[in-house]
Each structure stands twice: as C-alpha cells, then as structure tokens.
Amino acid sequence: MTAAPAVRRRARTRAGLADRDGFLAWALLLPSVVYIVALVGVPFLLAVAFAFSDVTTGDPSFDFVGFRNFTEIFHDGVFWRALVNTLVFTGASMVLIVVFGKILANVLVADFHGKWFVRFLVLLPWTTPVALSTISWLWFLDSIYSPVDWVLRHAGLISGNVVWLGRPWTAMGSVVAVQAWRLTPLAAVIMMAGLVAIPRDIDEAARIDGAGFWRRMFEVTIPLTLPVIAVAGLFGAIMTFTDMTVPYVLTRGGPTHSTDVLASWAYFRGIEGGDVGQGAAIALFLFPLLLAGAVAILRAVRRLEPQ
C-alpha cells in the first residue's frame, strides 16, 4: 500500500482484524462452510448410517443391523428394475438434451426480430416449477382426452387411444420426452455461453476460406465448444439421474414399476412406505455414479481454461 498518514495508520490498527486478509478470508467463508457441513455433510453421513439401521417412521430409534437392508433390496426385483430404468431414463434424456440443446443454442445466438419473445417462450419449460409443467403433460397424455391422440386420430394414424402412460414402453418414452423437454433450455443456455466465447475472427476466417454452414459447424464450432457441450450434457445427466419429479407426477412409477427410478423408489420405500433404512440404502446407490459425473464435469471445466 502507499504510505498513509500516521493518523490514519492508527485508525487502521483499531480496525486491525478487518484488514488482515488471512483472518478475513476465513471469517467470510466460515458461515457458509458451517452451514453446508451442518445441513449437507451431517445429513449425508446420517443417510449412510440409516442405510445400516432399522429406522422406520413409526420407530425412529436407531439399531445397527449391518448389511440387512442391502441384502433385502438386492433380493427385491423392483430395485434392479429401478436401476435399469434409471440408466435408460438418464442415457436417453441426455442424448436428446445435448442434440436439441445444441440446435436451440444456435438458434438463440442468431440475430432476428422478436428474439426476446422467442427466448421467453423457449425458457418456459425450464423455469416453470417441474411439478406444474409435468401436470400439464399429464393432461397432454391423458388416456382419453389427449390432444396428441386427437391429432394422430385425425391424421388417420390410430383409431382409438394410445394410452401413453398406461403401457410400459410408451410410459418410459413419455417420461424421457418430458425430462428432455424441460432440461433442453438449460443445456442451450450453457452452450450459448460457449458459443458467445468463440472469437469472431475464427468463424470469419473459415467463412472467407469458403467453408459452408455445416462445415463450419462440424469442423470449427463444435470442436471449439466441445468442453461446454460436455458440461451441458453432464449437468443434464446428473439432474436426470437424481430426479424423481417427472416419474413421480406423471406415472407414479407405473405401470407396474416400469418407470420407477432409484430416486422415486427410495421415496416410495423411505417416506410413503416408512422404511427409512431401506430407502436410504437405495438412495445411496445414486452416489458412486454421481461422483463420477461430478469429476467428469470438473475435468471438462478445466479444459475450458486455456480459451
């Protein structure tokens, strides 16, 4: 610091603590750290402890039971069904989210009249509380009055009703479609950040060299924004992998568990069934894959740095 008058220096020793970077860094960070440890760290350890206990909502006393909860869920066919469903749900949604997010991002960075209104409409699926937009879809896919069926009937493609949510495969398809629909705008917003960051002259150089739209897209834009695309895809995957709202509201896991995912199954077991121990054991299976996804995101983010 430049030389300050002696008077001011004395005034500053009074505010000494507020000037020491080392102390200040801790003091400013501490409230957040304490809060997060108390309400994320402790509950996480508690969830692990519950997985090895016989806690139920009716009898909350803690008794250690070893791996009993795990052996029980391994012998339950629904658990394996939910695990496979979770992977299908996540994989299919992620592919759709990346492809449509990329297209949407390209549309949204282009210049055109009425862009503001288009952006507003495009943001709707993501900013609306999930439970509410899913209710809209519930009616969209209604077994009798579905407008999708109405259109298909009038196009002469079907005669009766598809009953989208009543058959295993169409139910899974519907859940995936709604999830992809609601997360695509988020992916597009993240990818826009990448597109905006590409220096203009690179695109112009490719244009002068005679590269057409598709060539520029696949040989310049996509390779340059690959880390951002990866981040968007992984965000989508993590949010789908751990989400239960869409299956819960749309199908409640049905018909006969064909759309149950790990998160919703943990909820049905742990909250509605009251078996906290088993519910916690099921939810714990989300963790290893979640960790892998988080590490992958961090690596992709690191690769953004040189740009």
Partner: protein, 301 residues
C-alpha cells in the same frame, strides 16, 4: 473474385451471377433462422399455450374426445379460473412460495456474498480446493439427502412448517450462488479496492462500500436464480410438509388440487400458466447475465 480472367463482359455477368447467388443464399439463411426460431418456440411453449386455451374451456367442451383440443368449440368461460382463486388454497400456496423464496434469497446472499469474496479475492492457498468443494456440494441432489434431512427436520420440530424449507433450501442455492458471484467479483478490477483502501477504508470496508455496488448486477442475477430454484424445488417440499396450509405452489397444486381421481383440469392448467409466465419473464430479463456469469465462474474457478 472480380479479378476473374476473360473479357470484361463475361466478368460482369459472372459478378452478377455470384451476387444473385449470395443474395439468394442470404434470404435462404434468414428463412432458415426464422423457421428454426418459430419451431423451437412452438415445441417449447406448446403445452403452455394449450394449457391457456384449456383453462378457459367449458366442461362439455374439454371432456369430449372428439372436439378440437386447440380451439374453443363452446364459448370460453372464466369460471374455472375464478374457482382457482376463490375455492382452492392456491393464493395461500402463492403467498407461502413468496415468503419462503424471499427469506431463502436473503439467507443465500448473506452466506454467499462473503464466501464468494473470500474465494475470489483473498487469494489463500486453500481457495481452489474450497471452490471445488463448494461446486461438488451443488451437485449433491435432494434425492440423496431427503430421508435424513426429514429426520433432522423432525428433530428440530420444523415439520409441516414453512421454516423447514427456509432452513434447508439454502443448501441448494448457496453453492450455485457462490459460483456465479465468484465470476462477477473477478470481473471487478483490483484497483477499485486498492484505491478504496488508500482512501482509508479497511479491507472489509472496501468490499462493502466499493466492491458491492459494482457487483449489483450479479447480485440481482443471484436473487432471480435462487428464487427460481426455490420455487421449483419439489422433493424436500414434498417430504417435509404434508399440511395443506403450509404448502408451496410446487407441491400444493399437484397434491391438493387433485382430489382422488378428480382433477380440476382447467384450474390446474390456469395455475401452471399463472406460475410459469412471471418466472420465465423475470429470467429472460437477466438471461445474458446468467450466460456471462456461468462462463466467468466456469473459466476462472
């Protein structure tokens, strides 16, 4: 291109041909952009537009598999929308959502602003691992913690109360807010603080009086983002609160407006549109800031 070899007339014709070619290509590109924009808007917004139509339909019109679902076949009626406001607890849900949202936003700012400043400016050796740690917390989902947090909420005697959500929701909003704010804080030149400190402010004073006003746009972005996350949260709200008067919009509407198998469809659709439009409107206002905020946080953490 104009320097093409050959007689002048052929050159001129060639130029004319190229010009027309490029003009045509320009028009085609514009049409492509507009077509894609309209298509994207329709795919994203169609369920909402159609909800808006359904909300004003009469029962005989709505519950007829043969009537066109996209237009009014019978005169529109506002009855079901009025019903939503007068005969259901929807307004209570809205008020609860606003109370929870406002308090969560305040707590988030109080925790995240100092933490972000500490990580962005007071270069400590543990800054980077701490930043990564906070980012990891952002990825921990409610579905992993809701069971144990429900027990914690019961121990704290907060079950069936708005306070359960006010206390727990910042676990979702604080990490992402810290991440966004680090980006905004790094964009403020260091000279600003140094100048303020030369003028006699302490480090803390420089942060409060000189830096905070400059990151005001970032603070607004964090407020909107946190509120949106809070309003959309579903799993915790569902697990913590089962008494109707204490519910928020995201859980109250799907569980309380559906009685057994009786769905008040028009009212449900109205509730969706009424909630969706203001949030998307607000978000759209600050979209550019989120886009830059995301990149800054991502590139520099």
């Amino acid at each position: 291109m104009t320097a093409a070899a050959g007689p002048a007339r052929r050159g001129a014709r060639e130029v004319e041909r190229l010009r027309r070619h490029y003009a045509l290509r320009h028009v085609a590109a514009r049409c492509g952009v507009y077509g894609a924009a309209v298509l994207a808007a329709l795919v994203c917004a169609l369920p909402f537009l159609w909800s808006l139509v359904s909300a004003f339909k009469q029962n005989q019109d709505l519950y007829d598999p043969d009537s066109n679902p996209f237009f009014f076949n019978k005169p529109a009626t506002p009855d079901h929308v009025t019903f939503l406001f007068t005969d259901t607890p929807f307004l209570t849900f809205v008020a609860n959502t606003l109370i929870v949202g406002a308090l969560v936003v305040v707590i988030t700012l109080l925790l995240a602003l100092p933490a972000a400043y500490s990580l962005a400016r007071l270069d400590r050796p543990w800054g980077t691992p701490m930043g990564i740690g906070i980012f990891m917390v952002y990825l921990v989902p409610p579905s992993l913690l809701f069971l144990s947090l429900t027990r914690v909420v019961v121990w704290l005697h907060l079950e069936d109360s708005l306070w359960s959500m006010i206390v727990v929701y910042p676990t979702i909003t604080v990490p992402v807010s810290v991440w966004l704010l680090i980006g905004f804080l790094r964009a403020v030149p260091k000279d600003v603080e140094e100048q303020a400190m030369v003028d006699g402010y302490s480090r803390l004073g420089a942060f409060l009086r000189a830096v905070l006003p400059l990151v005001f746009p970032g603070i607004v972005a964090v407020v909107v983002f946190s509120f949106t996350l809070t309003a959309s949260e579903f799993v915790y709200a569902l697990a913590f609160v089962s008494a109707s008067p204490q519910m928020v919009v995201s859980t109250g509407v799907p569980t309380q407006l559906v009685r057994g198998d009786v769905f008040f469809w028009q009212s449900l659709q109205a509730a969706t549109v009424i909630t969706a439009v203001p949030i998307a409107f607000l978000f759209n206002l600050f979209l550019d800031r989120f886009v830059t905020g995301f990149t800054m946080g991502a590139v520099k953490t």
